[in-house]
């Protein structure tokens, strides 16, 4: 019964949300039953001309009733708030060891780029049981990344980054839906999240082609856009070197400190004068408007790779893409891909396979 009325639970967050939901449903159901029950009972008992007792109520009772149910509802509502809010706060910060996935939304597709190299369209492969941190942005309008089975939703905003995270608890294929209205094919901006056993995931990952690796693209940009002129080791300009910087806490001019993460790198590229590293002159020009969001993500991935030590290289020449994942290619990219023929039917992102 319940399975019909509840979406599948496939993340750590899902049972927590459902618990609050069910409790609220129970409380609400009780209140509705109380109100409707009283209305019906009074309607029958005090119908016009019935023989029920209709003596006046003492006014004291009236006031006590008012204060009583005001206090009671206030108490119940504040309690629910506290419960829901604490669940939310607990779920807010992503674990430090999370896999980082950059999501770029555009009309009407999802591009996902994992920091470990996998790059997909309308799909995201993740290992079960591992926290995944999503960094979302959009290239045009506002979209929203929604995975009902994970009870997860976050808007992807143009020109800004938003973050959220999840930890899948079940293998299988789950809907990815866009829930912020984004134009003509909003309803076809679908994708799927494929949750795999860690060993399957490793095999799938190693099958990814190397060419479209984020960090490598970033390395190219680093040279092409002139970043290397100042930041490369041995440059004549007095600029901070970037190797080993990722994740460290660095001192800033003015005595503050900052942790080098995606947001900091982004800010340093777009608003270099805001948080200048201690001991350096604010000479770097802003790249606001010169680099796209995707390029900033690539540069970020490069800087991250510099800090993470030498990158594990993969064997070239392995069979491309996810040919070992069950299902035909058409099934795996159900949503509209620009340029691909449009099928007016519903996207069969569908019947999530249950293990």
């Amino acid at each position: 019964m319940l399975a019909w009325l509840m979406p599948e639970q496939a993340s750590v967050q899902a049972p927590r949300v459902d618990a609050i939901f069910l409790a609220l449903t129970a409380i609400s159901g009780a209140i509705v039953l109380l109100v409707v029950g009283l209305v019906v009972a009074f309607s029958i008992r005090f119908r016009r001309g019935s023989k029920a007792n209709r003596d006046a109520l003492p006014s004291l009772v009236a006031r006590e009733f008012e204060i009583g149910w005001t206090a009671a509802t206030l108490f119940v509502f504040v309690f629910i708030f506290w419960w829901a809010a604490s669940a939310e706060i607990r779920a807010y910060v992503a674990p430090k060891d999370a896999i980082e996935v950059h999501v770029v939304a555009k009309q009407w597709m999802w591009k996902t780029q994992s920091s470990n190299g996998a790059r997909e369209i309308n799909e995201l492969h993740v290992p079960v049981g591992a926290p995944v941190r999503l960094i979302l942005t959009s290239q045009d309008v506002i979209h929203s990344f929604y995975v009902p089975a994970f009870r997860l939703k976050r808007d992807a905003l143009p020109g800004q980054q938003t973050e959220t995270w999840f930890k899948a608890t079940k293998t299988g294929t789950f809907h990815l839906l866009c829930t912020e209205y984004c134009g003509t094919d909003h309803a076809r901006m679908l994708g799927r999240i494929v949750v795999m056993e860690p060993e399957d995931y490793a095999r799938w990952l190693s099958a990814q082609p190397e060419g479209d690796d984020l960090a490598h693209a970033g390395e190219r940009l680093f040279a092409e856009r002139g970043c290397a002129g100042c930041h490369a080791p041995g440059s004549g300009v007095h600029a901070p070197g970037l190797a080993g910087l990722w994740g460290r806490e660095i001192p800033l001019a003015g005595g503050r400190t900052a942790t080098v993460d995606g947001a900091y790198v982004r800010d340093s590229i777009l608003q270099p004068k805001r948080d200048v590293a201690a001991g350096y002159e604010p000479i770097m020009p802003s790249y606001d408007g010169l680099l796209s969001d995707g390029e900033i993500q690539e540069l970020t991935a490069y800087i991250r790779a510099l800090g993470a030590g030498p990158r594990a290289s993969r064997t070239p020449g392995r069979p491309p893409l996810s040919s070992r994942v069950p299902g035909a290619a058409r099934d795996r990219s159900p949503a509209m891909v620009p340029g691909a023929p449009v099928d007016d039917g519903p996207a069969p992102a569908g019947a999530a396979t249950r293990p």
């Binding site: 509840m6 979406p7 967050q13 609050i20 939901f21 609220l24 609400s28 209140i31 509705v32 109100v35 009283l38 209305v39 009074f42 309607s43 005090f46 119908r47 016009r48 029920a52 006046a56 009236a62 009733f65 008012e66 149910w69 005001t70 509802t73 509502f77 629910i80 708030f81 419960w83 809010a85 939310e88 045009d140 309008v141 506002i142 929203s144 929604y146 089975a149 009870r151 997860l152 939703k153 976050r154 808007d155 905003l157 143009p158 020109g159 809907h175 839906l177 829930t179 209205y181 984004c182 134009g183 003509t184 094919d185 909003h186 309803a187 007016d344 039917g345 519903p346 569908g350 019947a351």
Partner: protein, 565 residues
């Protein structure tokens, strides 16, 4: 039934009732179109509004019908994507700004406010007429946007889609809404000034009927929230028409700021729709329970609290939007708080029934339906106020179901309750009661069948504004679309029998329900000057039984159950 036509519109059903020289009714004060279109009589302006919002209601309803038809199957088989997007936008824009927001305040409110406080007219009669023209002008602009190709942004006009990406007639439609905003501000100014300055002698603040309090608090929102919407929409137009970078993130703008400004208006706008409905329900329930309202002062403070706290909660529309988590918690807390006064009102209505002499005429059926639907709608609001659940159901059909329970289930039920309750006063005619009861019951069941399945579809994860959807949601959409068909019939029925009653209905007495309000102490329909002489108020409202004495059995004085034959 045949006697109806022969008599003059000023005639009374019972000539013994108020035989004080029988002044001409406001309906008889002129029969030309010009006498209506230039009238500054609040009662005639109310009729003008009633006609225009009825037209808009059926226009918005037609769009909704197409939407539900399309959603019957998971495929796009009735309309394509762009048409569908334009249809739900049309439905939203028309229903919100040209039906729901003006519905009760400008029709029943306009008609009844001076009558209820014993005044001759509104404080600024010309402004009142001007506000109707502004409303019509706005409506025509928005409707012409439909002719110019339609708008495909959704009623929320979210940027940067509405400013940079949409190729449809957004500017025209937005300007229409902007103009109608000034119409509601004018109405708000008028209602507040009238309530403060034109109360009859003896009509103290705590003798005002709750409907007047409801109109007053609604007008506070009209006046204080609408200007923010006006600016926001004007900014959208400026960005589209003059290419000014305002919200465009590619040029440094902040789309979340648009959402703040938009919801600062649009959340209180929900209270614009529900507060007058609460006022109507308080009048109807007390009358048909033959009891004084339970906890009058609490009811007044609850109205004020909803109107004020309603301004603090807009952020719960934005929990997933990238708003800061700290702000999300603040807004979540405030949203829970605003539910308390609403709960107080529900309990007080229920308690008013206790030890009453309850009759089940059609206005009361609508009112009882309101209590149930409002309770469900209000409680599901708590789900949306708690952040983790909202993250899951935001922008799904759960939200759609929730706000339709409030805005359609509750508000429209109350509108029909009020329409039937005061119909004899407005038109001087009785409507066929059996038909009205049937429509009320049909509306209740049709509504629940339409919108309850949407709660389930929403929790299962069906996003809103989808014209094609994964097939596992089909069962819920089929239920919902079937309910919509029932609901459509239920909405068409009053159009039929009420129109019929204007022409052929029995004459109404001055006070057919034995109600207590000042508006019943004049002829049906009232004369241009509203009262025969100067009214003076000597007692509390809802004086249905002496304080401390039980209510007595009291049949309404309506003709034998009318029918269409």
């Amino acid at each position: 039934m045949s006697a109806g036509l022969a008599e003059s519109p000023t005639a009374l059903a019972d000539r013994g009732e108020l035989a004080l020289g029988l002044p001409e009714s406001y309906l008889a004060a002129g029969h030309t179109l010009g006498s209506w279109l230039t009238s500054t009589d609040h009662k005639r302006i109310a009729i003008l509004y009633a006609i225009s919002i009825t037209v808009f209601f059926f226009l918005g309803g037609a769009a909704a019908t197409m939407v539900r038809l399309e959603l019957f199957t998971p495929k796009a088989d009735v309309v394509g994507a762009d048409t569908y997007n334009k249809l739900f936008t049309l439905h939203g824009v028309i229903m919100v700004w040209f039906f729901l927001i003006p519905s009760i305040p400008t029709t029943l409110g306009n008609f009844l406010l001076p009558l209820m406080i014993g005044a001759r007219d509104m404080a600024f009669p010309k402004l009142n007429l001007a506000s109707w023209y502004l409303n019509i002008l706005g409506g025509l602009l928005t409707a012409s946007a439909m002719l110019a190709g339609g708008i495909d942004t959704g009623w929320t006009f979210y940027v940067p889609y509405a400013t940079v990406f949409s190729n449809s007639a957004v500017s025209l439609g937005v300007l229409g809404v902007f103009v109608s905003g000034f119409s509601t501000i004018a109405t708000g100014v008028n209602v507040i000034a009238t309530t403060h300055t034109l109360r009859a002698p003896g009509m103290t603040w705590f003798r005002l009927p709750l409907f007047v309090w409801a109109l007053y608090t609604t007008s506070l929102i009209f006046v204080l929230a609408t200007p923010v919407l006006a600016v926001t929409l004007l900014l959208v137009v400026a960005e589209r028409a003059f290419d000014l970078p305002i919200f465009d993130p590619a040029r440094g703008g902040d789309p979340i700021l648009f959402q703040h400004l938009f919801w600062f208006y649009s959340h209180p706008a929900v209270y614009i729709m529900i507060l007058p409905a609460m006022g109507v329900i308080s009048e109807v329930i007390t009358c048909f329970a033959r009891r004084r309202v339970f906890g009058y002062t609490f009811m007044v403070y609850a109205l004020l609290a909803i109107a004020v706290i309603g301004f603090f909660t807009w952020g719960h529309h934005m929990f997933t939007s990238g708003m800061s988590p700290f702000a999300a918690l603040v807004f979540s807390f405030l949203s829970f708080i605003v539910a308390v006064p609403s709960a107080i009102k529900v309990f007080n209505w229920t308690a008013t029934l206790y030890r009453g002499q309850i009759g089940f005429e059609s206005p009361m059926l609508y009112a009882l339906g309101f209590v149930g639907l409002f309770t469900v709608g209000g409680l599901t609001g708590l789900f949306l106020a708690s952040v983790p659940i909202d993250v899951h159901v935001q922008d799904t059909y759960f939200v759609v179901a929730h706000f339709h329970y409030i805005m359609v289930g509750a508000s429209v039920s109350a509108y029909f309750a009020g329409l039937h309750f005061w119909w004899p006063k407005v038109t001087g005619r009785m409507y066929p009661e059996t038909w009205a009861k049937f429509a009320a019951i049909l509306m209740f069941f049709g509504f629940n069948l339409t919108f309850f399945p949407q709660f389930i579809a929403g929790y299962l994860g069906m996003p809103r504004r989808y014209h094609v959807y994964p097939p596992e949601f089909q069962i819920w959409n089929v239920l919902s679309s079937s309910g919509a068909a029932v609901l459509a019939v239920a909405y068409l029925m009053p159009l039929g029998y009420l129109t019929w009653s204007v022409l052929f209905g029995e004459r109404a007495r001055n006070d057919p329900w034995n109600a207590s309000g000042l508006e019943w102490r004049t002829t049906s329909p009232p004369p241009r000057e509203n009262f025969l002489g100067k009214p003076e108020v000597l007692a509390e409202p809802y004086n249905y039984h002496p304080e401390g004495a039980p209510p007595v059995k009291d049949q309404p004085r309506i003709p034998a159950q009318g029918s269409l034959t």
